[in-house]
Assembly symmetry: C2
Homo-oligomer: 234 residues x 2
DNA sequence: AGTTCATTCGATATAATTATTGAATGTGAA
DNA sequence: TTCACATTCAATAATTATATCGAATGAACT
Protein backbone atom coordinates (compact mmCIF):
# COMPACT_ATOMS: atom_id res chain seq x y z
CA UNK A 1 0.00 0.00 0.00
CA UNK A 2 1.01 3.60 -0.38
CA UNK A 3 0.43 4.89 3.16
CA UNK A 4 2.78 4.60 6.06
CA UNK A 5 2.99 1.46 8.12
CA UNK A 6 1.49 1.29 11.59
CA UNK A 7 3.75 2.64 14.30
CA UNK A 8 3.40 3.23 17.99
CA UNK A 9 3.25 6.82 19.21
CA UNK A 10 6.89 6.92 20.22
CA UNK A 11 8.12 5.74 16.85
CA UNK A 12 5.86 8.10 14.96
CA UNK A 13 7.38 11.02 16.87
CA UNK A 14 10.89 9.95 15.89
CA UNK A 15 9.69 9.76 12.30
CA UNK A 16 8.49 13.35 12.50
CA UNK A 17 11.73 14.58 14.03
CA UNK A 18 13.82 12.62 11.56
CA UNK A 19 11.91 14.16 8.67
CA UNK A 20 13.02 17.60 9.77
CA UNK A 21 16.64 16.54 10.14
CA UNK A 22 16.53 14.75 6.81
CA UNK A 23 15.28 17.89 5.11
CA UNK A 24 18.33 19.70 6.49
CA UNK A 25 20.62 16.84 5.50
CA UNK A 26 21.62 18.09 2.07
CA UNK A 27 24.22 20.71 1.18
CA UNK A 28 22.06 22.45 -1.39
CA UNK A 29 19.11 22.67 0.93
CA UNK A 30 21.29 24.13 3.65
CA UNK A 31 22.49 26.72 1.19
CA UNK A 32 18.86 27.50 0.42
CA UNK A 33 18.20 27.94 4.13
CA UNK A 34 21.06 30.40 4.37
CA UNK A 35 19.77 32.42 1.44
CA UNK A 36 16.18 32.36 2.67
CA UNK A 37 17.45 33.58 6.02
CA UNK A 38 18.38 36.84 4.27
CA UNK A 39 14.78 37.31 3.19
CA UNK A 40 11.99 35.82 1.06
CA UNK A 41 12.94 34.73 -2.43
CA UNK A 42 11.37 33.37 -5.58
CA UNK A 43 12.37 29.97 -6.93
CA UNK A 44 13.98 31.67 -9.87
CA UNK A 45 16.05 34.04 -7.73
CA UNK A 46 17.29 31.18 -5.57
CA UNK A 47 18.17 29.07 -8.59
CA UNK A 48 20.22 31.94 -9.99
CA UNK A 49 22.05 32.50 -6.71
CA UNK A 50 22.92 28.84 -6.28
CA UNK A 51 23.61 28.26 -9.97
CA UNK A 52 21.28 25.27 -10.09
CA UNK A 53 18.48 24.29 -12.49
CA UNK A 54 15.12 25.76 -11.52
CA UNK A 55 13.37 22.39 -11.42
CA UNK A 56 15.98 21.11 -9.02
CA UNK A 57 15.57 24.05 -6.67
CA UNK A 58 11.80 23.73 -6.90
CA UNK A 59 11.98 20.14 -5.77
CA UNK A 60 14.29 20.93 -2.88
CA UNK A 61 11.96 23.69 -1.77
CA UNK A 62 9.00 21.38 -1.87
CA UNK A 63 10.86 18.84 0.23
CA UNK A 64 11.62 21.58 2.73
CA UNK A 65 8.00 22.68 2.74
CA UNK A 66 6.83 19.15 3.49
CA UNK A 67 9.17 19.09 6.48
CA UNK A 68 7.91 22.46 7.71
CA UNK A 69 11.14 24.34 7.07
CA UNK A 70 9.71 26.88 4.64
CA UNK A 71 6.37 28.31 3.59
CA UNK A 72 5.41 29.79 0.26
CA UNK A 73 2.93 32.29 -1.07
CA UNK A 74 2.12 33.31 -4.57
CA UNK A 75 2.70 36.86 -5.80
CA UNK A 76 1.55 37.11 -9.39
CA UNK A 77 3.61 34.81 -11.51
CA UNK A 78 6.16 34.33 -8.75
CA UNK A 79 6.07 32.04 -5.77
CA UNK A 80 8.00 33.40 -2.84
CA UNK A 81 9.48 31.07 -0.31
CA UNK A 82 10.49 32.09 3.19
CA UNK A 83 11.72 30.34 6.32
CA UNK A 84 8.78 29.04 8.31
CA UNK A 85 10.18 30.07 11.63
CA UNK A 86 13.10 31.37 13.63
CA UNK A 87 13.39 27.83 14.91
CA UNK A 88 14.68 26.72 11.51
CA UNK A 89 17.59 29.12 11.78
CA UNK A 90 18.19 27.90 15.34
CA UNK A 91 18.29 24.28 14.16
CA UNK A 92 20.74 25.18 11.41
CA UNK A 93 22.90 26.94 13.98
CA UNK A 94 22.79 23.95 16.33
CA UNK A 95 23.87 21.63 13.53
CA UNK A 96 26.73 23.95 12.66
CA UNK A 97 27.93 23.81 16.25
CA UNK A 98 28.03 20.02 16.21
CA UNK A 99 29.99 20.10 12.97
CA UNK A 100 32.42 22.68 14.33
CA UNK A 101 33.11 20.53 17.36
CA UNK A 102 33.82 17.50 15.26
CA UNK A 103 35.04 18.41 11.86
CA UNK A 104 38.66 19.16 11.19
CA UNK A 105 37.48 20.14 7.73
CA UNK A 106 35.59 23.15 9.02
CA UNK A 107 38.68 24.32 10.85
CA UNK A 108 40.80 23.77 7.77
CA UNK A 109 38.58 25.96 5.58
CA UNK A 110 38.89 28.84 7.99
CA UNK A 111 42.65 28.49 8.29
CA UNK A 112 42.84 28.84 4.54
CA UNK A 113 41.92 32.51 4.84
CA UNK A 114 44.29 33.50 7.58
CA UNK A 115 47.94 32.77 8.14
CA UNK A 116 48.02 33.26 11.84
CA UNK A 117 45.55 31.77 14.23
CA UNK A 118 45.45 34.85 16.43
CA UNK A 119 43.72 38.03 15.28
CA UNK A 120 41.18 36.06 13.34
CA UNK A 121 38.92 36.34 16.36
CA UNK A 122 35.53 37.70 15.31
CA UNK A 123 33.69 40.61 16.90
CA UNK A 124 30.65 39.65 18.95
CA UNK A 125 27.28 41.23 18.32
CA UNK A 126 27.26 43.05 21.63
CA UNK A 127 30.77 44.36 21.19
CA UNK A 128 29.94 45.64 17.74
CA UNK A 129 26.74 47.26 18.95
CA UNK A 130 28.54 49.27 21.62
CA UNK A 131 31.38 50.28 19.32
CA UNK A 132 28.86 51.35 16.69
CA UNK A 133 27.14 53.53 19.26
CA UNK A 134 30.46 55.24 20.01
CA UNK A 135 31.14 55.74 16.32
CA UNK A 136 34.45 53.89 16.47
CA UNK A 137 33.94 51.53 13.61
CA UNK A 138 32.99 51.29 9.93
CA UNK A 139 30.57 48.45 9.28
CA UNK A 140 30.51 46.99 5.78
CA UNK A 141 27.95 44.54 4.43
CA UNK A 142 29.64 42.46 1.76
CA UNK A 143 26.51 40.75 0.45
CA UNK A 144 25.05 41.52 -2.97
CA UNK A 145 22.94 44.68 -3.21
CA UNK A 146 19.61 42.86 -3.34
CA UNK A 147 20.20 41.14 -0.04
CA UNK A 148 21.45 44.37 1.52
CA UNK A 149 18.21 46.03 0.40
CA UNK A 150 16.09 43.50 2.32
CA UNK A 151 17.74 44.48 5.58
CA UNK A 152 21.14 45.37 7.02
CA UNK A 153 22.82 46.62 10.18
CA UNK A 154 22.00 50.25 10.95
CA UNK A 155 24.60 52.51 9.37
CA UNK A 156 26.30 49.72 7.48
CA UNK A 157 27.48 50.50 3.97
CA UNK A 158 27.04 47.99 1.21
CA UNK A 159 30.35 46.86 -0.28
CA UNK A 160 29.61 43.73 -2.31
CA UNK A 161 32.68 41.57 -2.40
CA UNK A 162 32.93 41.95 -6.16
CA UNK A 163 33.25 45.70 -5.78
CA UNK A 164 35.55 45.72 -2.79
CA UNK A 165 38.57 46.60 -4.90
CA UNK A 166 37.00 49.62 -6.55
CA UNK A 167 35.45 50.94 -3.34
CA UNK A 168 38.60 50.62 -1.25
CA UNK A 169 39.67 54.25 -1.75
CA UNK A 170 36.41 55.44 -0.21
CA UNK A 171 37.05 53.67 3.10
CA UNK A 172 38.55 55.56 6.01
CA UNK A 173 41.91 54.22 7.07
CA UNK A 174 41.76 55.57 10.62
CA UNK A 175 38.94 53.37 11.88
CA UNK A 176 38.57 49.65 12.29
CA UNK A 177 36.40 47.98 9.70
CA UNK A 178 33.98 45.20 10.63
CA UNK A 179 32.65 43.07 7.79
CA UNK A 180 29.68 40.72 7.91
CA UNK A 181 27.60 38.76 5.45
CA UNK A 182 25.07 35.92 5.48
CA UNK A 183 26.08 33.96 8.52
CA UNK A 184 28.95 32.75 10.67
CA UNK A 185 30.57 30.70 7.93
CA UNK A 186 29.74 32.85 4.94
CA UNK A 187 33.08 33.00 3.17
CA UNK A 188 32.54 36.41 1.64
CA UNK A 189 33.32 38.19 4.89
CA UNK A 190 36.40 36.02 5.36
CA UNK A 191 37.62 37.05 1.93
CA UNK A 192 36.83 40.70 2.56
CA UNK A 193 38.75 40.78 5.83
CA UNK A 194 41.73 38.99 4.27
CA UNK A 195 41.77 41.46 1.39
CA UNK A 196 41.38 44.51 3.64
CA UNK A 197 44.22 43.42 5.87
CA UNK A 198 46.44 42.88 2.87
CA UNK A 199 45.82 46.52 1.99
CA UNK A 200 46.78 47.70 5.43
CA UNK A 201 43.35 48.15 6.96
CA UNK A 202 42.49 47.03 10.45
CA UNK A 203 39.61 44.67 9.80
CA UNK A 204 37.64 41.97 11.58
CA UNK A 205 34.60 39.81 10.97
CA UNK A 206 31.34 39.96 12.83
CA UNK A 207 30.87 36.58 14.54
CA UNK A 208 27.81 35.83 12.44
CA UNK A 209 25.55 37.40 9.86
CA UNK A 210 22.47 39.51 9.41
CA UNK A 211 19.91 36.76 10.15
CA UNK A 212 21.41 36.13 13.59
CA UNK A 213 21.52 39.87 14.27
CA UNK A 214 17.85 40.13 13.39
CA UNK A 215 16.97 37.00 15.38
CA UNK A 216 18.67 38.53 18.43
CA UNK A 217 16.08 41.28 18.24
CA UNK A 218 18.51 44.03 17.29
CA UNK A 219 17.62 46.92 14.99
CA UNK A 220 17.71 46.36 11.25
CA UNK A 221 17.64 49.02 8.55
CA UNK A 222 15.93 48.60 5.20
CA UNK A 223 16.32 50.30 1.85
CA UNK A 224 13.09 52.14 1.10
CA UNK A 225 11.32 50.78 -1.92
CA UNK A 226 12.94 52.17 -4.98
CA UNK A 227 15.15 51.03 -7.80
CA UNK A 228 16.09 47.77 -6.11
CA UNK A 229 14.35 44.63 -7.28
CA UNK A 230 11.41 43.77 -5.06
CA UNK A 231 10.60 40.33 -3.70
CA UNK A 232 9.45 38.06 -6.48
CA UNK A 233 11.23 40.05 -9.15
CA UNK A 234 13.67 38.46 -11.57
CA UNK B 1 37.65 7.94 -9.29
CA UNK B 2 36.69 7.06 -5.77
CA UNK B 3 37.36 10.36 -4.02
CA UNK B 4 35.02 13.31 -3.73
CA UNK B 5 34.66 15.84 -6.45
CA UNK B 6 36.34 19.22 -6.19
CA UNK B 7 34.33 21.82 -4.32
CA UNK B 8 34.92 25.39 -3.32
CA UNK B 9 35.30 26.20 0.37
CA UNK B 10 31.73 27.34 0.77
CA UNK B 11 30.30 24.16 -0.68
CA UNK B 12 32.58 21.94 1.36
CA UNK B 13 31.27 23.59 4.52
CA UNK B 14 27.69 22.88 3.55
CA UNK B 15 28.72 19.28 2.94
CA UNK B 16 30.09 19.05 6.47
CA UNK B 17 26.98 20.57 8.00
CA UNK B 18 24.69 18.41 5.90
CA UNK B 19 26.54 15.29 7.03
CA UNK B 20 25.62 16.07 10.62
CA UNK B 21 21.98 16.70 9.77
CA UNK B 22 21.86 13.58 7.65
CA UNK B 23 23.16 11.50 10.54
CA UNK B 24 20.24 12.80 12.61
CA UNK B 25 17.80 12.19 9.77
CA UNK B 26 16.70 8.70 10.68
CA UNK B 27 14.16 7.65 13.31
CA UNK B 28 16.25 4.82 14.69
CA UNK B 29 19.33 6.98 15.01
CA UNK B 30 17.33 9.63 16.85
CA UNK B 31 16.12 6.96 19.23
CA UNK B 32 19.73 5.96 19.75
CA UNK B 33 20.58 9.59 20.54
CA UNK B 34 17.83 9.70 23.14
CA UNK B 35 19.06 6.51 24.79
CA UNK B 36 22.70 7.59 24.70
CA UNK B 37 21.64 10.86 26.32
CA UNK B 38 20.75 8.82 29.42
CA UNK B 39 24.33 7.54 29.62
CA UNK B 40 26.93 5.45 27.81
CA UNK B 41 25.74 2.15 26.41
CA UNK B 42 27.11 -0.91 24.67
CA UNK B 43 25.90 -1.87 21.20
CA UNK B 44 24.20 -4.89 22.67
CA UNK B 45 22.34 -2.90 25.31
CA UNK B 46 21.13 -0.41 22.72
CA UNK B 47 20.01 -3.16 20.36
CA UNK B 48 18.02 -4.77 23.16
CA UNK B 49 16.35 -1.49 24.12
CA UNK B 50 15.39 -0.64 20.55
CA UNK B 51 14.50 -4.21 19.61
CA UNK B 52 16.72 -4.14 16.54
CA UNK B 53 19.37 -6.54 15.21
CA UNK B 54 22.81 -5.87 16.63
CA UNK B 55 24.46 -5.49 13.24
CA UNK B 56 21.92 -2.86 12.32
CA UNK B 57 22.54 -0.85 15.46
CA UNK B 58 26.28 -1.21 14.97
CA UNK B 59 26.04 0.30 11.51
CA UNK B 60 23.90 3.18 12.68
CA UNK B 61 26.37 3.91 15.45
CA UNK B 62 29.24 3.91 13.00
CA UNK B 63 27.38 6.35 10.77
CA UNK B 64 26.84 8.57 13.78
CA UNK B 65 30.50 8.32 14.72
CA UNK B 66 31.57 9.39 11.22
CA UNK B 67 29.38 12.46 11.59
CA UNK B 68 30.82 13.27 15.02
CA UNK B 69 27.62 12.58 16.96
CA UNK B 70 29.04 9.84 19.17
CA UNK B 71 32.37 8.51 20.36
CA UNK B 72 33.24 5.01 21.47
CA UNK B 73 35.73 3.34 23.75
CA UNK B 74 36.41 -0.28 24.42
CA UNK B 75 35.90 -1.79 27.85
CA UNK B 76 36.88 -5.44 27.75
CA UNK B 77 34.61 -7.26 25.37
CA UNK B 78 32.21 -4.34 25.19
CA UNK B 79 32.37 -1.16 23.19
CA UNK B 80 30.62 1.69 24.89
CA UNK B 81 29.18 4.50 22.85
CA UNK B 82 28.40 7.91 24.25
CA UNK B 83 27.25 11.25 22.87
CA UNK B 84 30.23 13.23 21.65
CA UNK B 85 29.03 16.49 23.08
CA UNK B 86 26.27 18.46 24.71
CA UNK B 87 25.89 20.13 21.33
CA UNK B 88 24.41 16.92 19.94
CA UNK B 89 21.62 17.07 22.48
CA UNK B 90 21.13 20.74 21.67
CA UNK B 91 20.83 19.96 17.96
CA UNK B 92 18.29 17.23 18.68
CA UNK B 93 16.32 19.68 20.79
CA UNK B 94 16.42 22.33 18.05
CA UNK B 95 15.12 19.85 15.51
CA UNK B 96 12.32 18.85 17.86
CA UNK B 97 11.28 22.48 18.14
CA UNK B 98 11.02 22.83 14.37
CA UNK B 99 8.92 19.68 14.23
CA UNK B 100 6.66 20.87 17.04
CA UNK B 101 6.02 24.13 15.24
CA UNK B 102 5.08 22.38 12.05
CA UNK B 103 3.72 18.99 12.66
CA UNK B 104 0.11 18.38 13.47
CA UNK B 105 1.20 14.79 14.05
CA UNK B 106 3.27 15.70 17.09
CA UNK B 107 0.33 17.54 18.59
CA UNK B 108 -1.95 14.63 17.83
CA UNK B 109 0.25 12.16 19.69
CA UNK B 110 0.13 14.28 22.81
CA UNK B 111 -3.62 14.77 22.63
CA UNK B 112 -3.98 11.03 22.62
CA UNK B 113 -2.92 10.89 26.25
CA UNK B 114 -5.11 13.62 27.64
CA UNK B 115 -8.74 14.42 27.18
CA UNK B 116 -8.61 18.08 28.06
CA UNK B 117 -6.09 20.48 26.67
CA UNK B 118 -5.74 22.33 29.96
CA UNK B 119 -3.88 20.84 32.90
CA UNK B 120 -1.55 18.94 30.61
CA UNK B 121 0.87 21.84 31.10
CA UNK B 122 4.24 20.47 32.18
CA UNK B 123 6.28 21.66 35.14
CA UNK B 124 9.38 23.67 34.26
CA UNK B 125 12.78 22.70 35.62
CA UNK B 126 13.03 25.81 37.77
CA UNK B 127 9.55 25.40 39.18
CA UNK B 128 10.25 21.79 40.07
CA UNK B 129 13.58 22.68 41.66
CA UNK B 130 11.99 25.19 44.00
CA UNK B 131 9.08 22.93 44.91
CA UNK B 132 11.52 20.09 45.60
CA UNK B 133 13.43 22.34 47.97
CA UNK B 134 10.22 23.04 49.88
CA UNK B 135 9.38 19.36 50.02
CA UNK B 136 6.03 19.86 48.34
CA UNK B 137 6.27 17.23 45.68
CA UNK B 138 7.03 13.57 45.01
CA UNK B 139 9.29 13.11 42.01
CA UNK B 140 9.12 9.80 40.20
CA UNK B 141 11.52 8.59 37.50
CA UNK B 142 9.60 6.23 35.24
CA UNK B 143 12.60 4.98 33.25
CA UNK B 144 13.91 1.41 33.62
CA UNK B 145 16.12 0.75 36.63
CA UNK B 146 19.38 0.64 34.68
CA UNK B 147 18.88 4.15 33.34
CA UNK B 148 17.86 5.39 36.76
CA UNK B 149 21.10 3.98 38.14
CA UNK B 150 23.21 6.04 35.74
CA UNK B 151 21.76 9.25 37.11
CA UNK B 152 18.47 10.75 38.30
CA UNK B 153 17.00 13.83 39.94
CA UNK B 154 18.00 14.21 43.60
CA UNK B 155 15.41 12.52 45.80
CA UNK B 156 13.52 10.99 42.89
CA UNK B 157 12.18 7.49 43.34
CA UNK B 158 12.39 4.97 40.55
CA UNK B 159 8.98 3.77 39.43
CA UNK B 160 9.48 2.06 36.07
CA UNK B 161 6.33 2.33 34.05
CA UNK B 162 5.91 -1.43 34.04
CA UNK B 163 5.76 -1.44 37.84
CA UNK B 164 3.61 1.65 38.27
CA UNK B 165 0.53 -0.40 39.04
CA UNK B 166 2.12 -2.43 41.83
CA UNK B 167 3.89 0.54 43.39
CA UNK B 168 0.84 2.81 43.42
CA UNK B 169 -0.13 1.98 47.02
CA UNK B 170 3.26 3.25 48.22
CA UNK B 171 2.72 6.73 46.83
CA UNK B 172 1.47 9.50 49.07
CA UNK B 173 -1.88 10.84 48.00
CA UNK B 174 -1.51 14.21 49.72
CA UNK B 175 1.28 15.58 47.53
CA UNK B 176 1.53 16.34 43.87
CA UNK B 177 3.50 13.85 41.84
CA UNK B 178 5.83 14.95 39.08
CA UNK B 179 6.95 12.30 36.60
CA UNK B 180 9.82 12.51 34.16
CA UNK B 181 11.69 10.18 31.86
CA UNK B 182 14.10 10.39 28.92
CA UNK B 183 13.17 13.66 27.35
CA UNK B 184 10.37 16.07 26.49
CA UNK B 185 8.55 13.62 24.23
CA UNK B 186 9.30 10.39 26.03
CA UNK B 187 5.88 8.77 26.12
CA UNK B 188 6.48 6.88 29.34
CA UNK B 189 5.94 9.96 31.48
CA UNK B 190 2.78 10.80 29.51
CA UNK B 191 1.45 7.36 30.23
CA UNK B 192 2.41 7.55 33.87
CA UNK B 193 0.65 10.88 34.39
CA UNK B 194 -2.46 9.69 32.57
CA UNK B 195 -2.57 6.55 34.72
CA UNK B 196 -1.93 8.44 37.97
CA UNK B 197 -4.68 10.93 37.24
CA UNK B 198 -7.08 8.12 36.49
CA UNK B 199 -6.35 6.81 39.98
CA UNK B 200 -7.11 10.15 41.57
CA UNK B 201 -3.58 11.46 42.03
CA UNK B 202 -2.59 14.99 41.24
CA UNK B 203 0.17 14.46 38.71
CA UNK B 204 2.10 16.44 36.13
CA UNK B 205 5.02 15.89 33.78
CA UNK B 206 8.38 17.59 33.97
CA UNK B 207 8.81 19.61 30.76
CA UNK B 208 11.73 17.46 29.69
CA UNK B 209 13.92 14.63 30.88
CA UNK B 210 17.04 13.80 32.80
CA UNK B 211 19.52 14.72 30.02
CA UNK B 212 18.19 18.24 29.82
CA UNK B 213 18.24 18.55 33.60
CA UNK B 214 21.86 17.49 33.61
CA UNK B 215 22.73 19.75 30.67
CA UNK B 216 21.25 22.69 32.57
CA UNK B 217 23.94 22.12 35.18
CA UNK B 218 21.56 20.98 37.92
CA UNK B 219 22.45 18.36 40.52
CA UNK B 220 22.14 14.70 39.56
CA UNK B 221 22.18 11.73 41.93
CA UNK B 222 23.71 8.37 41.09
CA UNK B 223 23.21 4.90 42.47
CA UNK B 224 26.47 3.81 44.10
CA UNK B 225 28.03 0.85 42.37
CA UNK B 226 26.31 -2.26 43.57
CA UNK B 227 23.91 -4.82 42.25
CA UNK B 228 22.91 -2.74 39.25
CA UNK B 229 24.48 -3.61 35.91
CA UNK B 230 27.49 -1.45 35.16
CA UNK B 231 28.17 0.23 31.84
CA UNK B 232 29.00 -2.33 29.20
CA UNK B 233 27.19 -5.07 31.05
CA UNK B 234 24.56 -7.25 29.36
C1' DA C 1 45.57 -23.46 22.23
C1' DG C 2 40.87 -23.35 22.11
C1' DT C 3 36.23 -21.43 23.32
C1' DT C 4 32.96 -17.81 24.03
C1' DC C 5 31.00 -13.73 23.10
C1' DA C 6 30.47 -8.66 21.55
C1' DT C 7 31.21 -6.29 17.68
C1' DT C 8 32.31 -5.37 12.94
C1' DC C 9 32.74 -6.48 8.07
C1' DG C 10 31.15 -8.03 3.42
C1' DA C 11 27.82 -9.14 0.26
C1' DT C 12 23.25 -8.83 -1.12
C1' DA C 13 18.66 -7.10 -2.02
C1' DT C 14 15.42 -3.46 -1.48
C1' DA C 15 14.22 1.15 -1.02
C1' DA C 16 14.99 6.19 -1.04
C1' DT C 17 17.37 10.29 -2.76
C1' DT C 18 19.10 13.11 -6.37
C1' DA C 19 19.86 15.41 -10.86
C1' DT C 20 18.15 15.91 -15.35
C1' DT C 21 15.02 16.12 -18.98
C1' DG C 22 10.78 17.75 -21.28
C1' DA C 23 5.91 18.27 -20.78
C1' DA C 24 2.10 20.27 -18.05
C1' DT C 25 -0.05 23.85 -15.07
C1' DG C 26 -1.38 28.31 -13.85
C1' DT C 27 -0.88 33.29 -13.96
C1' DG C 28 -0.69 37.92 -16.12
C1' DA C 29 -0.69 40.54 -20.19
C1' DA C 30 -1.57 41.44 -25.36
C1' DT D 1 -7.99 33.64 -26.98
C1' DT D 2 -3.25 33.58 -27.38
C1' DC D 3 1.19 34.34 -25.71
C1' DA D 4 5.09 34.56 -22.38
C1' DC D 5 6.76 33.09 -18.34
C1' DA D 6 7.38 31.01 -13.41
C1' DT D 7 6.74 26.97 -11.41
C1' DT D 8 5.56 22.19 -10.93
C1' DC D 9 5.01 17.47 -12.49
C1' DA D 10 6.43 12.97 -14.42
C1' DA D 11 9.78 9.81 -15.97
C1' DT D 12 14.42 8.36 -16.09
C1' DA D 13 18.91 7.07 -14.58
C1' DA D 14 22.60 7.27 -11.17
C1' DT D 15 23.72 7.35 -6.59
C1' DT D 16 23.15 6.46 -1.87
C1' DA D 17 20.74 4.56 2.31
C1' DT D 18 18.92 0.58 4.72
C1' DA D 19 18.14 -4.12 6.54
C1' DT D 20 19.73 -8.71 6.80
C1' DC D 21 22.66 -12.65 6.96
C1' DG D 22 26.74 -15.19 7.66
C1' DA D 23 31.61 -14.81 8.18
C1' DA D 24 35.57 -12.47 10.35
C1' DT D 25 37.82 -9.96 14.21
C1' DG D 26 39.40 -9.29 18.70
C1' DA D 27 39.31 -9.59 23.67
C1' DA D 28 38.53 -12.45 27.90
C1' DC D 29 38.32 -16.81 29.99
C1' DT D 30 39.30 -22.10 30.56
Amino acid sequence: MVGMSIRNPKQSLYVQFAAVAKALGNPQRLELVEHLAQGPRSVDALATKLGLPIANVSQHLQAMRRAGLVTSDRNGKFINYRLADDSVLAAFAAIRVVAEHHSAEVERVVRGWFDRHDDMEPVTRDELASRMKEGLVTVIDVRPADEFALGHLPGAINVPLSELGSLLPDLRTDREIVAYCRGPWCVMSFEAVAELRKRGFSARRLEDGLPEWRAAGMAVEQVLRGDTAAVGGP
